[in-house]
Symmetry: C2
Subunit: 339 residues, 2 copies
């Protein structure tokens, strides 16, 4: 079923059918009605590949996600959902590319095969080959997270440094003197993962400013790791009375380890950090945390990208999110006596 078939049945030329479809030139009511009837009857819709070839636009966005194997965190998942949703609102399809560090078949296919009109890159690192690759390709792109040189790209990001800093100040205000940061995994940090490094920087700065004793720990993105991490923390640093974390996937495990140690939150131990609202609320007791506005960020990333696609001369868009800390019930005054 193609446009020629419709034209034939309606007794007009292909171009007229095309114009009825696009509305880009006047077609008499009579003719348009006849054509529309045929279109409706046959449920015709133009072939996307042909249109893409002709227009130079695919009406699709690429979304580069962390490769399988590593399980996506809840936050990553929500980003995917919000991007897909925002794209659908603009009648754009989303092509998923599970691409890790370097040159990946799927990534290359999407980029150099011109399968998409633009790309959203998730979980980028401070130095990221894929960013370089996209820059040289000329394809519009937006990153969720920013590289070490954020002045040359469009991005949305969370101010991990500032937020973790605020968490530390909040804990200090409550009288905590010995605090710990539970960061993302050591591999991720080693690969130059921005949020991890910025969280560390923010933590260190605030700890220094308030004259606290701070411990930093890496932790895998899963419950089991969180559990082990806190066990080790409690054993090695018994004086610690509070945790700040950017590792939401570890939260359930952190919770279990505190339970096992017989510590009641927030009476004996405080915990706070940066997390998706959903996870903060699911925590027991509900987590005092900076709620990452994931849906907003995903939507904004899509909007920036659509703008860049529409106008090649569009200025770079950047948005650093610094949501307030929602006070819930997981932080309290430092316990009087050390454990």
């Amino acid at each position: 079923m193609n446009i020629g078939e419709i034209a034939k049945r309606a007794g007009v030329s292909r171009s007229t059918v095309s114009y009825v479809l696009s509305g880009r030139r006047r077609v008499s009511d009579a003719t348009r009605g006849r054509i529309q009837a045929v279109i409706d009857e046959l449920d015709y819709r133009p072939n996307a590949s042909a249109r893409a070839l002709r227009e130079g636009r695919t009406q699709a966005l690429g979304l580069v996600i962390p490769p399988a194997g590593r399980r996506l965190t809840g936050m990553q998942l929500e980003f995917v959902a919000s991007v897909v949703e925002a794209a659908a609102r603009a009648d754009m399809d989303v092509l998923l590319s599970p691409s890790g560090g370097d040159h990946d078949r799927s990534f290359e296919r999407i980029v150099s095969g011109r399968r998409v009109d633009g790309v959203i890159l998730m979980e980028i690192r401070l130095e990221d080959d894929r960013v370089t690759r996209l820059q040289q390709s000329g394809l519009p792109f937006v990153t969720i997270g920013r590289t070490a040189d954020p002045h040359t790209t469009s991005w949305v990001d969370v101010d991990y440094a500032g937020l973790i800093g605020r968490c530390v100040h909040h804990l200090a205000d409550l009288g905590h003197r010995h605090v710990a940061l539970i960061n993302r995994s050591a591999e991720l940090l080693a690969s130059g993962y921005g949020p991890g490094h910025r969280a560390t920087a923010g933590f260190d700065a605030a700890v220094a400013e308030r004259g606290l004793d701070g411990v930093t720990l890496s932790c895998g993105d899963d419950g089991r790791s969180g559990e082990m991490c806190v066990e080790q923390l409690l054993a090695a640093h018994p004086q610690v009375t509070a945790i700040a974390t950017v590792n939401e996937a570890a939260l359930p495990g952190i919770r279990r380890a505190l339970d096992t140690a017989g510590l009641v939150v927030p009476r004996d131990f405080s915990i706070t950090g940066v997390a998706a609202q959903h996870w903060a609320e699911e925590f027991r007791p509900p987590l005092t945390a900076a709620d990452v506005p994931i849906v907003e960020m995903g939507t904004e990333a899509v909007n920036l990208l659509l703008a860049a696609i529409a106008g090649p001369g569009t200025p770079l868009g950047r948005h650093l999110y610094r949501p307030p800390i929602s006070l819930r019930s997981s932080t309290g005054p430092a316990p009087r006596v050390s454990r």
Copy 2:
């Protein structure tokens, strides 16, 4: 950058470049070397739209996921990941369509615009418009889950009825007389969601066979709902000593409600069901459950689809998974005295 440009620079015709790319006819070493050098230098890759138009194949699969708004469960997410992964292995891209009940723009665009070579449908219902639509479109498709009339489609599914039946038998063997099924949400059930209905059927059959007292509850796909659901269960049916569930997203909440009620698992209360291995292991104590082989199912769905795409006459493929119940630590003998 197109094939003509490569041809010009290499001093050959376009067809020769094309043949070098496809390897479908012999090209002399000298010529091929010269062409390949140009290709490498310019990092040329054929335009996907043009190729799709010419070949009638897009090298992309559509994956229809539940619409945003409803948060994807961990299991759904893993399906997505496994499908994307399996597709990537076959050099296929995956186009995501967040489509709910009926005719959705995104779904229609993918299907009638021929944007994909085939479709994988998630979370289908016993009667599903999208299945009908795909059947009449002639586009190959595979469903994860099956409709009420499973003889006309290709699918992979979990034998929820059989598995929940086994769970009940396991509980009965342990001496439990009063058991509950925690099902998926009421809306999902009302919309004719197969796994929900089949779980109920399996539960009822096993309960009848063993002469037990069985309660069935619907529960939203999130922790909060699980918590409320179990609170109500304990209040309304104090004699219940065990739960079987197909609602893995509710597990954390179920856990919290049991905690709050002061019930120790498995001493005072047993819990089992069907869940992704990951969630079963994350539960405390680790959940005795039928582990849904998600990656295997996602991979098999892709393989069935690829086969159907390759050979239009391919027989329908169906695979009903019935994984064994992994005995972990969340079930034990029924407590002697009722609460």
